[in-house]
Symmetry: D2
Subunit: 272 residues, 4 copies
């Protein structure tokens, strides 16, 4: 063993900085950092900051001549965010991803936060209110003087099959589906998470609610039947909605139907 | 360090058996063993042995005065099973759980194997054939001279809501559901996995298939509509079916509907 | 179709209450309700209420002559809790489980909430502070005039193998482990979540932290080496700690080592 | 309802082909198909075909003027593969992805199969034999006259921290890690799955085995201690190994250390 300090006593002599030593393999690393780090967060919503719990990934580029990065500094950045009670938003993610470059002495960085997000919704007929949950991911990429942020929302909806409706004397199979919309917007043109979620829900056979009374259940049933859509229709209609947002730079839309007549999913994706 | 052997050389002197030493805390351990051990298996079916991959858990009771069990012997038992090409069945699981007691010098043991199981099914109208997959767990408990085996099958089905059908002018919400049947049978009275799965499927609003042609899809849609069931109906009807099996000693039936109008599940359980 | 209302118009005549009708199968249901319902929550801690997101399961017993339960009332109970900003604690869970009986007109009920829980910890040498996350489940069971609550904490720790230490000339394999402690306490004797978590951490080869500086990493490495424990030692030592709590009615302790020398886990359980 | 057939009777008149109708949104779909389809498979190994269970995803491009794809044909392709007992290999995946284009009348397609894969390994000192499991993904992309196949292997290994070893008087923290290697090779130059897995294992602090006797455990412990590697070292050394394979067209290497001193992972990636 190479240290000479007594056990349990911290030496006055600084400890060896193995990570900071020179690497001789001449191979740069695209990204190195931490994953699966859970932290309580505030999230910016249309009604102000609300609490959630996020799963963070953070990483930076490492030049060919450096042996290692400084893992503890990633966690230190989250501690700072937490202490300052900064509410997550695309702008704050962009800022944090730039702080990452400074803190880690890096020239490229990535930062993502995945968290459940809640919206209070009124049932369509009775108006009774309840929360619906959505999974959101904010993903920032930074280089000196530049940062881009992609927003991903996963929206559970109902889909009803047009073929089943057409060929059957009555009824039509329907099921829960999940639409994943991921988009990047020009600065100053970033819509709220709620606006993106509503844009998806409007294109489903029917949207979902946490709490429905009988008149609401009748509405949902008939609305879905009147509004049959294949998984192909779903991704096309959501893609057209997203294109209509001012300032959209790029996007992808995926839909997965957890088929109620099979034990597998129907799935489609459009990118633009 | 306490060994005196040269590095990399195995000493002629036997290595210390730490696990085999005496424990002084006077506290017996209910179960100790291994988990999340994946092994290729053969499974006994109505058509003979078929291949799958199982996730094994294995454990034994440890008396108060023993420090540790012999972890490598659990894996050795699977190696023996694999080498002998034994096909898993309730009887073989019972045998293996008794072997476990001998091998681990224990007086109580548990052994479980969870694996995907496939049945070839013919579509209801076109007759076209395809495989459907089910999750199965075989769980054995043994003590000297005695072993019991529980069979668990997880059967994905379709459920259609009677309330939605009743109150709506047309259509009815429906969704994928999962029925979990767990049962223990008297010796010599154990039904095949296929028989248990068919007993569950017969009680659903409709069963599922991997491959359906348009006439089949019409049949499935109308059959489910004609056969609306709440999650409560589903567990009751499956429970009645299970009670009708000769030799059933105990059972539990759970059903979970992945609701197509909510982002949560409806769920029910009957034990008997 | 059996309704006479015009499409899209809610009839003045009350809608049929299918769930409320009489059932003729003469089979009571142990539990029926909802699952996988995510809701933002406040959780009672030693420092006061803090925010988290919980996954709820809620269910009641259904008598043999009733066709169905009232699913929407489960969600209504969470809405009430949320509106009143009630912080979850064993006492509040017990209260909610009694409210469940009244609201659902039932004589037995179950209610569980699973959520991530955070504790700020100071690193062992540098004292630098960061959050650690734990999974907690509060599980209540109620019948008229009675409610019991079990607390489950899942605590990630480090384990170091005594056998590997004993037989090797240097080093010893170690790994991340998870200890799951579940316990029920007499009324008025319920410890804080933090106290239970600390009781588990104190028995590991070493506890974990989110953020460690080099002197801390040296401490953790040496502390684990000085404190080697088998998975059997871990469950025994935690079980002894739990028994020392005043008012403990029943408990189970499980430990799972995600072995660093195998691709499976070592696992043990003690109940008392 | 629009059909005129009697319920349950298949009309002589062909059923409407809704999917085959013309779409007017003028929006092509990148990929549409099925997901999460489990099927038993044979996998080509150095010892010949062995059984496993695969999770398939299959999708094709859909032109702007077509309303939908023919979902049942994806499943039909798997049925054909299963009936012919074709063993999966990069070549067979490439063939299947070309069949997909013909069957679905498409000009681009994707096909992936994810499955557990087993290798019999001899323990390093005792030579005792046991199986180790690895997750493998074969991913094919096809267009007329062209198909490329990427191979992904997920290899669980042991990593031991150089910093912890350097600064501590004794011991060093170590843990289970997972290395994910994904690579594409020129035709005729595709190595076996076993060769890729061995290339990864050779670069870890130490590889893993299912079954180890005490002399093996001593070897693994000391070998890892003698061979300390950061997550950065791990991805660099594996990347250098992969580059040395003849015919490698592109690759990515990721490593994730399930840290035994934290409740999060250290992670790195190199692409080339």
């Amino acid at each position: 063993m190479n240290t000479v300090t007594d056990k349990g006593v911290i030496s006055a002599r600084p400890m060896a900085d193995v990570q900071g030593s020179r690497d001789h393999r001449n191979l740069a690393i695209d990204r190195v950092g931490v994953r699966s780090l859970r932290y309580p967060v505030l999230v910016q919503t249309e009604q102000g900051p609300t609490a959630s719990v996020a799963n963070f990934s953070m990483a930076v580029a490492l030049p060919a001549d450096k042996k290692g990065t400084h893992m503890s500094r990633f966690v230190a950045l989250l501690e700072t965010m937490n202490k300052q009670c900064q509410a997550l938003s695309p702008e704050v993610m962009s800022e944090l991803s730039r702080d990452l470059l400074v803190l880690l002495e890096a020239n490229q960085g990535s930062l993502s936060a995945a968290f459940p997000f809640f919206i209070e919704k009124a049932a369509p007929v009775s108006g009774v209110k309840s929360l619906m949950d959505y999974q959101v991911v904010l993903q920032a990429e930074s280089s000196p003087g530049k940062a881009t942020v992609a927003i991903e929302v996963r929206v559970p909806v109902k889909s009803l099959c047009p073929c089943s409706k057409e060929i059957s004397d009555y009824g039509a199979h329907n099921q829960r589906s999940e639409v994943t919309l991921r988009a990047e917007f020009a600065e100053g043109k970033v819509p709220s998470l709620e606006a993106l979620i509503r844009a998806v829900e409007a294109q489903a056979s029917c949207e979902l609610w946490g709490l429905l009374k009988r008149p609401d259940e009748k509405y949902v049933t008939e609305r879905a039947y009147d509004n049959a859509k294949f998984v192909e229709d779903l991704v096309r209609d959501v893609a057209l909605s997203v294109k209509a947002f001012a300032g959209v730079v790029s996007f992808s839309v995926e839909a997965e139907n957890f088929e109620s007549i099979h034990n597998h999913s129907a799935w489609a994706r459009i990118t633009g």
